[in-house]
């Protein structure tokens, strides 16, 4: 696979969504870990849109100013909390993100960063949850593909609340290193694509690959 010769710095947008921030442990630790990294914007969707009245234009403008979009949230019912879905429904308009002329996101990167209640071994064809995390995140994978984006391997903190404070801190730290690596151009995102992900044509055109 051809790759860009130089790794570029990326402007990273974290779209964080947790409906009950007061009760959050894992997500809070993850958000805290990102504080102070240059080139990283964190937006708390539930705080910005407590009435779910998401403003598409604002969000689109912000998207355009970033290269890597991270959906960071607790894993709820094998998916994302409601506002993430609402955000996708409202912001990724036809003719803007997809469909005829919808190329505004092409060439950008999408990643999911989640914490789960279930242990890693549950997420397995033979495990209690019967599917792998990657299987369950297929809608995000395909969303990225349709929009001409590169979909990166998800960052997962399993059994987040069962972890000791120390373990959680370690997980949060590796999350920070990953994001900071992307932001500073130290980590090559194309080496972090989700398993088996083929870059869509829109992405390749944008990067002249």
């Amino acid at each position: 696979m051809a790759k860009p010769t130089i790794v570029n710095r990326m402007r990273v947008l974290i779209l964080a969504a947790h409906p009950r921030t007061v009760q959050s442990i894992a997500q809070r630790a993850m958000s805290r870990a990102l504080e102070g990294i240059a080139g990283v914007t964190l937006r708390d969707l539930y705080a910005l849109y407590p009435d779910f009245n998401i403003h598409a234009e604002t969000e689109q403008e912000i998207l355009l100013a970033h290269d890597l979009i991270v959906l960071q949230h607790p894993f709820y019912w094998y998916s994302a909390p409601a506002i993430i879905k609402e955000w996708l429904d409202i912001v990724l308009e036809a003719g803007w993100a997809y469909g005829a002329g919808g190329t505004m996101l092409a060439g950008k990167y999408l990643m999911t960063a989640i914490s789960t209640g279930g242990r890693a071994d549950f997420y397995h064809a033979k495990g209690r949850n019967r599917f792998t995390i990657e299987d369950l995140l297929a809608p995000f994978n395909q969303t990225a593909h349709l929009c001409g984006m590169a979909y990166l391997a998800p960052f997962v903190v399993y059994a987040a609340r069962k972890q000791s404070a120390g373990d959680l801190a370690t997980a949060a730290e590796s999350y920070r290193q990953l994001i900071e690596g992307f932001a500073r151009g130290k980590i090559d995102p194309t080496e972090h694509l989700a398993a088996g992900y083929h870059l869509p044509d829109g992405f390749k055109r944008r990067h002249a690959l």
Binding site: P19, R20, T21, V22, Q23, I25, Y46, A47, L48, P50, D51, T116, G117, G118, R119, F122, R128, A159, A160, R161, K162
Partner: protein, 620 residues
């Protein structure tokens, strides 16, 4: 006057004020009338408790009028004054000229000739700034459009006194060296052009000093942090301007008014207002009492017929002229009436002009006495006349009895009828219009209707309680009726009418408080909206957020609280008359709210994830 005399006089005036004001208020008469009556009672004609010093007291208390105009000026920024220019110089000029001609012409019947009549006309054209402004301020009507018209006229009258003082001597050519020293200012000896220069200079001085000198001075004075000094400085300014204007023969009221305008956008405005307010109130009270005391009952007794006729004729002529003018200037029915009645009396400045003209030989024989009595009595009648307008005529306007007819309401298949387009209904209308819904709006406040029309809203003047009007508005075809009238009884009444005649209409009703909501819920209305409930919820939410609560949490809290409170409202409605039951329900509701929020918070505990991460044996 010895100190004791002074104190005794003060005692009498203050006692009269303190006793009369509450009584007049209780009787619903307004304080001005109370003061006038109290003055008449303690005056020489009745009890004789105060005597000849009344004149001196009046002059002293006229200072209250000056302070009042300063305060009026403070509330009127230059830009607003500029907006009033047409009213001041159009309506004001026509009022003075028109009334002077009409009243003057009528006075030919009793005067010695056209010169005397013209003088009479000019004297009587003026209205009492003190009475009118005080009364309107008490009623809160000064800021309304008609209040502004009245004010503009009063302002022009004040201005017009200056040329009057200059021109009346010319009228008195007969008495070649007329003019006592009422106009005698220090500059009287100079040629006219120099006088004009002095006058312009004085006004300019007030304006420039107000703009550039007073503010820094105020800052210095305010920095002392001594309130008394600040008050003293404020009074110093007013007194200073009064004297300066006196020097050049200008109206002091006008001068202080201008100073007030100049200071209107300064940061000290509110402090000035607060500090001068008591002086104004007290001085005006004394002024009104002095006017009351000055009413010469013996004169009334000696020629009751002539006086009675003159007084009636004067008031009627003035009313008629004002009616005509108001119509000419496009005021609507109710406002025409308000305007005309407000200004239908003589002015305190008339007394000064009478003495002035008598000195010129323009007024002869019994005329000065008669005019003085007419003015004084018309001033006494003024509050009564305004009350007549307010209590008798205005309600009939509101009932649509005369002058302003209900508008011919047209609708092209409206979706919504909005009854009441005040602050509440207007917002609703705007939202509905934004969604392209067709609204028909009915409102009973005619000036509001006119204003809104100018802003392009489709608003009709009319009483929504009238069945024919509702039908004309399309009640049969409409889907929804919004009842947003700010009158509790009328709202309830309209609900009954609508439910009875247009049962298909979905009613959404603004209510005032819980008990009003109970009434309507029992009337069968589901959609009741407590008028300030929504905004208090909004504020509560922002308060939570200001305390660091996450916005989404705050939003949910408010939504749930609201739902629980609405539920309480509805269950309580059935027991509206049973207080102990209501208390019971309120307590239950509070417990429920506590329970819901506790559960929601997980008792402050972070809910465990056990079910997600432990092997669950019960899972099939």
């Amino acid at each position: 006057m010895s100190l004791n005399d002074f104190l005794l006089g003060s005692l009498l005036y203050l006692a009269a004020a303190v006793i009369s004001a509450p009584i007049a208020k209780r009787l619903g008469l307004g304080s001005v009338l109370g003061f006038l009556a109290a003055g008449a009672i303690i005056g020489p004609s009745v009890l004789g408790l105060v005597g000849n010093e009344g004149e001196a007291v009046k002059h002293f208390a006229e200072f209250g009028v000056i302070v009042m105009l300063f305060l009026v000026g403070l509330e009127l920024e230059p830009s607003k004054l500029w907006q009033l220019r047409q009213k001041i110089f159009g309506l004001g000029l026509l009022q003075v000229a028109g009334t002077a001609l009409v009243v003057g012409a009528a006075s030919l019947v009793i005067s010695s000739g056209w010169r005397e009549s013209l003088a009479i006309g000019l004297i009587l054209a003026l209205s009492s700034t003190a009475i009118v402004l005080q009364t309107m301020e008490e009623k809160g009507t000064l800021k309304t459009p008609v209040g502004q018209s009245v004010f503009s006229v009063l302002l022009f009258q004040d201005i017009s006194v200056i040329p009057m003082l200059a021109l009346l001597p010319l009228l008195a050519v007969a008495s070649a060296h007329g003019g006592d020293d009422h106009s005698a200012s220090l500059i009287a000896g100079y040629p006219v052009w120099a006088q004009a220069l002095f006058t312009i200079g004085a006004v300019g001085l007030v304006l420039v000093a107000g703009r550039y000198l007073m503010r820094p001075l105020f800052r210095i004075v305010a920095d002392t942090g001594t309130r008394e000094i600040f008050v003293a400085f404020a009074l110093l300014i007013v007194v200073g301007i009064t004297l300066l204007m006196g020097l050049v023969g200008l109206s002091a009221a006008l001068g202080t008014f201008l100073a007030g305008v100049v200071l209107a956008d300064s940061e000290y405005r509110h402090e000035l207002e607060m500090d001068l307010q008591p002086f104004k109130g007290l001085l005006l009270a004394i002024f009104f009492i002095a006017v009351g005391a000055g009413i010469d009952f013996s004169l009334i007794a000696s020629g009751p017929m002539l006086l009675g006729l003159s007084l009636t004729a004067f008031i009627l002529l003035k009313l008629a002229t004002h009616f005509g003018l108001a119509r000419l200037f496009g005021l609507n029915g109710p406002d025409t009436s308000r305007f005309s009645f407000a200004l239908a009396q003589g002015s305190e400045f008339g007394f000064v002009l009478i003495t002035f003209c008598a000195g010129l030989g323009l007024l002869t024989g019994d005329m000065p006495g008669l005019l003085t009595a007419v003015i004084a009595l018309s001033m006494a009648a003024a509050p009564l006349l305004m009350m007549l307008d307010e209590k008798v005529l205005q309600p009939r306007f509101a009932d649509g009895d005369f002058l302003r007819d209900h508008d011919a309401v047209s609708h092209s298949g409206a979706d919504v009828i909005i009854a009441g387009h005040g602050r509440f209904g207007m917002t609703i209308g705007r939202v509905l219009n934004a969604q392209g819904k067709r609204t028909v709006v009915l409102d009973l406040d005619s000036s509001q209707v006119d204003t809104l029309r100018r802003f392009g809203f489709k608003v009709f003047y009319g009483d929504a309680l009238r069945l024919d009007l509702l039908e004309a508005a399309g009640a049969k075809e409409a889907t929804v009726m919004v009842i947003a009238i700010d009158d509790r009884e009328k709202a309830t009444e309209l609900v009954k009418i609508a439910r009875h005649n247009f049962p298909h209409l979905k009613l959404l009703v603004r209510v005032f408080d819980r008990s009003h909501a109970y009434d309507l819920i029992r009337e069968g209305v589901d959609n009741v909206y407590r008028e300030v409930f929504g905004s208090s919820m909004d504020l509560a939410k922002d308060a939570l957020m200001a305390l660091g609560v996450h916005p989404y949490e705050a939003q949910r809290t408010i939504t749930r609280f609201r739902a629980l409170d609405e539920k309480l409202l509805r269950t309580s409605a059935a027991h509206a008359n049973d207080e102990s039951k209501l208390i019971d329900l309120a307590k239950q509701s509070r417990a429920e709210i506590a329970r819901v929020f506790a559960a929601d918070k997980g008792g402050g505990q972070t809910p465990p994830d056990v079910a997600w991460h432990d092997d669950d044996k019960s899972t099939p």
